[in-house]
Each structure stands twice: as C-alpha cells, then as structure tokens.
C-alpha cells in the first residue's frame, strides 16, 4: 500500500502522485518541489489564523503567510484547511509525514506548529522549523467590572471565560486549590467567549493573545489585555512555526530562509496587524541546521 512505502524524499512521492493523477511532472525546484505547487495544511475553523471565508476561500493570518512563503519560493500555494484531531501528534502523522486512508496523502508543510524542544525530541519524523511568532496566554479584562490591573485572585469571585480544553481552562480549574473553578465558564471557541465578555456575562477571558485581540476587533481598546501573574501555570507562551517531513531537508531550508526574510522585511508583522492582532517576535533564536 501507498502508506507503507518508506519514502526517502518527499519529491519522489510528488512525482509518483503527479504521474498517477495528473500526468504532469515539473522540473524540480531548489525546494525539492516538482509540481510547481507547494501544498500547505492549516487548521480549519480557526480564526484569525485559518478559516473558510464567506466566499468559500481560505483566509487568515496563516493562510496569508503560506501564500507569502510560496511566492518567495516561486511556487503556487495550495492550502488545505484540515480538521484538528485529538492531539498534535495525530495531526503531524495525518497531515505531514504519513497521510491517512480517508484524507489522503500528507501536505508538504503544515502551519501553526509549536516550536518546542520536547516535541522535537519525540517526533523524529518531523522537522520543526521557521518559528514565526510567539503565542501568549493572556487575560482580557473588563475594567468596568474589575477596575484597573486586576490580579488572578479577582476570579475567586468573578466569572472568567475560557475555551474548553486549553491551557487557560486547565490552569483555572486547578489553580489555588480549585478556588477559581466554579467561576470558570466554558465556551467552544475564543470568539464565543469574547461575545460573552462583550455582553458582560463574564468579567474577563483567558486565552491566546492573537485570537482574543482579533475577536475583540474594534472593542480592543476598551479591555485590558496582557500577561498576568499566574503562579503554577505549566506554560504561558510558546513559539509557533512550521512542520515539514524530516526527510525533506531541501524544502525545510528554503522555507526557513523565506520565513526569515518575511520576518525581517515586516511582511509577517503586517499580516498580523491586518487581522487586528499585535505581533510578537518569536522567543527562539532562529538557527538553521547545518547541512
């Protein structure tokens, strides 16, 4: 079966697919892509990063970044919006290195992948590359309800909204021996939680900065958005980067170069700002592995 063939280079796979399905074979570029098309996977239903716009097309920060990367490499971007499985490991297997008998072969590169040393140790089939921003767990607080500069202990007696099964959710359920637990209201997404904040169903929302800022949109200035002292939180910020199959080193190197260039010339920052979100440069020093 197709999935069991051990591929040395992704390019071999591309040629195989192209011959089989379209009959087209393009000359191999420096990035190791032969079809002229760079296939991206990005999470569906994930504003402001990647989602299907009203016109049916993929849209968002990650989608714009994908297009910018492809352009830099002289390739056309094919962006597939994908379903987030139970864990990142599943997503990497299905969308990056192996594929799935229902969803088909993997993409060349996946966006919005945490750049984390522990992941790198565990996932030897993946190259984690090109961190492009730092994601932060922040609190957006309503000063009309909480006054200025509220502390986390404010939620011993005030309602706070979170997206379910997130760091914010897990932290607040356990923090201070459960004293906040009964004031945590659960929503299916950050936009839903922000709607509750605007309606004053909650006094604050805890979650990822970019999603919160973008969901607040024009109301952003009415809320205090920032890092809060959160004693005992397991992780309050991490970088996001790209995932490429480990065997595809040529593509990894090209994408790293392209991303550096897009960060340095302000393209990435502009994309974030376009979606009403502030930009935070990755904490990791971007090192390229030596050939």
């Amino acid at each position: 079966m197709m999935f069991k063939i051990k591929l040395v280079r992704l390019s071999v796979f591309i040629i195989y697919c192209a011959c089989l399905f379209t009959g087209q074979v393009h000359a191999e570029t420096e990035a190791g892509i032969t079809s002229g098309i760079l296939k991206f996977a990005a999470y569906d239903n994930f504003p402001p990063y990647s989602y299907q716009a009203a016109n049916g097309k993929a849209e968002g920060i990650d989608v714009d970044i994908a297009r910018a990367l492809a352009e830099k490499l002289g390739l056309k971007a094919n962006i597939r919006l994908v379903f987030a499985d139970e864990s990142l490991e599943d997503d990497l297997r299905v969308y990056v290195w192996k594929g799935h008998h229902v969803t088909g072969p993997p993409a060349d590169v996946m966006l919005h992948i945490p750049y984390d040393e522990n992941l790198m140790k565990r996932e030897d089939k993946i190259s984690f590359i090109a961190p492009y921003f730092e994601d932060q767990v922040v609190v957006a607080a309503d000063p009309e309800q909480l006054g200025s500069n509220p502390q986390i202990t404010a939620f011993f007696s005030n309602k706070i909204g979170v997206e379910r099964v997130t760091m914010a959710d897990g932290y607040l359920l356990g923090a201070y021996r459960g004293q906040i637990r009964n004031n945590v209201l659960h929503y299916h997404s950050i936009p839903e939680a922000i709607q509750a904040l605007l309606k004053k169903d909650v006094t604050a929302v805890m979650g990822m900065r970019t999603e919160i800022e973008s969901a607040l949109d024009d109301s952003k200035n009415k809320y205090q958005i920032g890092l809060m002292q959160m004693p005992g939180i397991a992780k309050a910020s991490w970088d996001q980067g790209l995932a490429v199959k480990a065997s595809n080193q040529a593509l990894s190197k090209s994408l790293q170069d392209a991303m550096t260039s897009l960060i340095n010339d302000g393209t990435i920052k502009n994309i974030f700002n376009k979606y009403n979100a502030s930009y935070h440069i990755p904490a990791a020093k971007i090192n390229y592995p030596q050939e």
């Binding site: 569906d44 994601d135 997130t166 760091m167 897990g170 923090a175 637990r181």
Partner: protein, 583 residues
C-alpha cells in the same frame, strides 16, 4: 462553515446495482416489511435476525441447534461475499437477515443487500463522506436496524440514514450533529417499539452525549435525552425535563462540556419497556478538575422509549479518571422471576442489575488485571479504589511530566465495544475480554490545534506473555468462572451462543471458532483470511441453519503502538462476509 449544509445535503452518492433500477418503488412492500412485533420476538424466531444483538435484549443467543457440538466438524463455507472495491479496513458489523436477504453495513459506510442463499449482491449503497472528515478510530460501522421496509444506520459524518430495503435508495435521513465538531456515528441503532434509537460518538472532543428517539417510519425526531446532568431533554420539540439535578455531581459549568457520549449500541427490554444504554467518559480527562461523581457519565441509563425520560441509572466508575467508558451493552435476561441485566464494563468488573430499578445484584472482576479497584461494594455499588488515580496536575505544575502510575485495565478496557453473549442453556455469559495494562501520567504541556493544554500521556502493554485476548464464561449470579480460552491477540469481535451447545467468536488472527458452551473445548475453527472484528449471526432458511461472520481487520486495534502492536503484526486486510452451513 458554509459547506456543511451544501456538501452533506447534496453529496450522497447512491450506487444502485439492482437489475431494472427504474422500477417504481414498491408502495405495498409493508406486507413483507419487518414489524415491531417481529423485532420484539426476534430472539425466538429462527428464520430471521432483525435486530442488533439477535434480539433487542442483546443476548446474542439463538435457539437453533441444527448445527451442534456433535456435527460441527461438517460446517463449511457456503460462500464468501466480498465487500470489494479498493475499500477494506475494519469490518465491525453485525449483519441482519429478513426474507432471505442479508443486510449488512461495511467499512466506509457502505451497505450491502445480499441473497442469503446464493451470496449474490442485490444492491449496494455507498455513503459519500464529506471532504476533510477524519474518523477517530478507522472507518468502521457496527450495523443497522430493520423496520418495516427500511434499513436504518448511522454514518461517520453523523447522519442517520434510512434506505429502502428493496432498492437501497434513501427514504429519509436525519442529522445527528456536526462532524466538524467531532460528532460521529458508528454504532447500530436499535428499534424500541416504533422508534429508532441512536446515540452519538465524539466524547474525545468534549461534546455532550445525547440519545435520540426518532419515529422509525418517518425519521421525525420524537425525543432527545442528554446524558449529562443539567441539560434539558426534549419531547416533540418541547422541553421535557432536566437530566439529573444541576450541579449535583459537577462543579461550575463543566457539565456543559461534560462528555458522556453514548457511542455504542444500547438494548431494549420489551418486558419492562426500558431502553438501556451505556455512556462514555466525562471530560476533561483529569478527574481532579471535576470533583464529584459526574453523572451520568460511565453509566447505564434506563430510558422510557416513548418519552426519553430517565427511569433509573447505574454508574460504574464515579469521578472516572482512566478513560473507562461505560458504553458496553447492558444485556437483559431473566432468572426465575427476577428481571436482570448484566454489563461487562471497560473497568474490568461484571455487574448484574435488577432491571426494574437499577439496583445492583452482583459484581465481580472478569479480568485478572483490575488494579484500579479491588472490588465493588455490593451495598453501595461503588468501587473500592486501590489508590491508582492519576495525580492532580495542579500539584505538579512545574511543566514537567507528572508521576507515572501503572494501572489495569488499560483505557481500551477489560472488554470494549463488542457484544458478549448469554447462553440460555448454560446460564453463562461469554465475555470477549482483554488483559492489558497501561502507564498513565499527567503531561502538563500537550498540544492540540497549535495550543498547549494539560493532557495525559499513556502507553499500553499486555499483562501476560502468552495472551492478551481471552474468552471467559461466567455465571452472573455466583461470579464463578466456568472456563476461559486464551488468544494471542486482543479479542475485538462479538460473541454468539446457540442451543447447539456452541459459542462462536472470531480472533484478530482471522480464525472463526466454535467452542463447547459448557467446557470451552475448541470444536471447530475456520481461517477467514483476515482479522475478525465483527459479530456473527445465525438463522435458518430452507430447512438449513446458516452462520455468518464479517471478516476484515482494522478498527481501533491497529492504531496502538508499543508492545500490543507486536502481537498483531502481519495481519492482512480483507473485507468479506463468510457464510457457513453443514455439508
């Protein structure tokens, strides 16, 4: 998302291969249709199998004895029907038979109607799955329900579809949820009087479990019953009372996202007019975040078929912490004048309840590995835990892996989705069990959809060198084990008992076996060519007794890594229905 309604409403592909497909639908087919009475009497009528569980009580028992312990050596294949195409994967169905036609689901939500005597295809239905769907645990389906002239089954993209039994064309379909939010359906629906009842899968994604009753004839939704306390049920579109009592056993608003998915099939007991359905684990996974019993997760709920009201419940694992779904079938049977029901739980204990009120009658372990609890307190029904609860992540919040506990059963359970059988001639339950344990720890930084959260790590391992799977026969009243038959790989298919002193079951190695129902002695075995994860049936036709079993390796088993995977290496895929009779 815009495309859900578009793609799902227009995207179904019918593939009809009946000769003369242009014939108008037979409007007077009800004469030959399956009646509510046929279904209620299914366990005693030998000429058909018109319900999941071979009778709505779920005993998987047949009074047929033409094939028996004396002549079983003459049992041989009558034919093999290939589910064919390029689509193989796991075949977890239990077929149905009516009027000489076998109706069965197959992988990728296909349905086949097959001439039961010749094995020739009558029609085939192929459900077109929407783009982007990612089924959690292979592309299995566990079977359908027959009612009147309809074959009704659930799909991976959370639809309930009713096909015309004569043509395979869609008569009605209903949504069971949004597959993009994790809703899905793999279990066989059941018929309770004139309703078709089905749960929904997707507990992994924190959805709230829901049981629904539809008018089987028209597909009109009659009632909904959420499985988690605090949620309001409906009857004919109107509120019909809360499940449980708000915040009685759940803190804060966690009940809103509390899990409890009834993802397996239930049973229906006509004698007490009660549906009995098992519910899945609560969310979030770590029990310290949701102090309380977390009703009605990990429970059997007994539901009125007309209104969807809960009559009683029994919870197997309060404040569940190990992913021991309580979704196993609750099988109704009588002992003298006692109306009982038994349930072999994923937590490794076998429970017998009074099915008129849910009171515990007896409970004992059916696996060696049950280190999470020593026993069940017969007075309270609660487990005596053995101090193997995963730790509180808030107490080790330094971002490092929490301490590892080794516990059994594994989260795949002492048994899993597959149905056990009850021998009316022996009074024994035949349980397809697995002996596995797991290492389990808090993983304070786990990623999902690009974001960190406090998750868990686990690794599954066999408990014994020589076997994982084991078919065990128990007396439900005494807890005495009559016999056991070990198997190298894990057992993942259903069991059937017959009056011919036989118990049939399949193995992942591909062998379909018959053992003596009193001694467990192996009397017959046939190599079907691929692993068996489906459920066998038997019926008689033209004076002969037939036995059928789906063969086709897949389902959740091959997804596990580690040491368990070594036991199942080298099993080839296949996709067929093998039908046997005496020669």
């Amino acid at each position: 998302m815009k495309y859900i309604s578009g793609a799902c409403d227009s995207g179904f592909l019918k593939s009809i291969t009946i000769a003369g497909a242009l014939i108008a639908l037979p409007m007077s087919s009800s004469a030959a249709g399956v009646t509510a009475e046929d279904i209620i009497n299914d366990a005693t009528t030998t000429g058909d199998v018109v319900s999941y569980g071979m009778g709505t009580q779920g005993q998987r028992w047949s009074p047929l004895a033409k094939i028996n312990d004396k002549n079983i050596s003459s049992l041989a294949p009558a034919y093999t029907f290939s589910f064919g195409g390029e689509k193989m994967r796991g075949q977890e169905a239990q077929p149905l038979v009516h009027n000489g036609v076998i109706y069965t689901t197959a992988s990728y939500n296909r349905v086949f109607a097959i001439n039961a005597e010749t094995g020739m295809q009558i029609w085939k239905y192929e459900h077109r799955l929407p783009e982007g769907i990612l089924p959690c645990c292979d592309v299995v389906n566990r079977g359908g329900a027959l009612f009147d002239n309809l074959f009704i089954f659930g799909t991976l993209d959370a639809q309930l579809v009713a096909l015309d039994t004569a043509t395979g064309e869609i008569v009605w379909k209903q949504s069971l949820g949004d597959f993009k939010a994790g809703h899905s359906s793999t279990a066989a629906p059941i018929i309770a009087e004139d309703k078709v009842i089905i749960g929904v899968a997707g507990g992994e994604f924190g959805i709230v479990g829901m049981l629904r009753g539809f008018d089987a004839k028209t597909g009109k939704l009659v009632w909904e019953r959420p499985t988690i306390e605090g949620h309001i049920g409906t009857l004919n579109g109107k509120p019909n009372g809360m499940t449980g009592k708000l915040n009685a056993t759940w803190p804060g608003d966690l009940w809103k996202v509390g899990g409890g998915a009834p993802w397996n099939s239930g049973t229906y007991d006509h004698e007490t007019k009660t549906i009995m359905w098992g519910t899945g684990n609560p969310a979030p996974w770590n029990s310290h975040m949701r102090p309380g019993d977390n009703l009605y997760a990990i429970s059997t709920i007994a539901v009125d078929p007309d209104t969807g009201k809960i009559k009683w419940h029994f919870q197997y694992t309060p404040n569940e912490a190990w992913d021991y779904d309580g979704t196993n079938h609750t099988v109704a049977f009588n002992k003298g004048d006692k109306k009982l029901a038994s349930h072999a739980d994923r937590n490794g204990f076998f429970y017998t309840l009074d099915r008129t009120n849910g009171k515990l009658v007896n409970a004992f372990p059916f696996v060696e590995g049950h280190s999470w609890a020593t026993s069940i307190d017969l007075k309270t029904g609660r487990p005596i835990e053995a101090g193997k609860r995963p730790g509180n992540p808030a107490e080790s919040a330094d971002g490092k892996k929490g301490s590892v506990i080794t516990v059994s059963p594994s989260f795949l359970g002492g048994t899993n989705w597959m149905g056990m059988a009850y021998g009316q001639n022996t009074g024994l339950f035949y349980i397809p069990a697995n002996e596995m344990g797991m290492d389990l720890w808090n993983e304070p930084v786990t990623y999902k959809k690009g974001a960190a959260y406090m998750g868990a790590g686990f690794s599954i391992k066999p408990l014994f060198d020589d076997y994982i799977g084991v078919l065990r026969a128990y007396d439900p009243m005494t807890g005495k084990k009559a016999f056991e038959v070990k198997n190298k790989g894990p057992l993942w298919g259903g069991v059937m008992a017959t009056a011919g002193n036989l118990v049939f079951y399949g193995t992942p190695e591909g062998h379909f076996k018959a053992i003596h129902s009193k001694t467990g002695k192996e009397l017959w075995s046939y190599n079907t060519g691929s692993g068996i994860v489906g459920s066998p049936i038997t019926w008689e036709q033209g004076g002969e007794q037939f036995v059928a079993v789906p063969s086709g390796w897949g389902a959740a088993v091959p997804l596990w890594g580690g040491e368990v995977a070594k036991q199942i290496e080298g099993i080839n895929q296949g996709a067929s229905l093998v039908v046997f009779k005496l020669y």
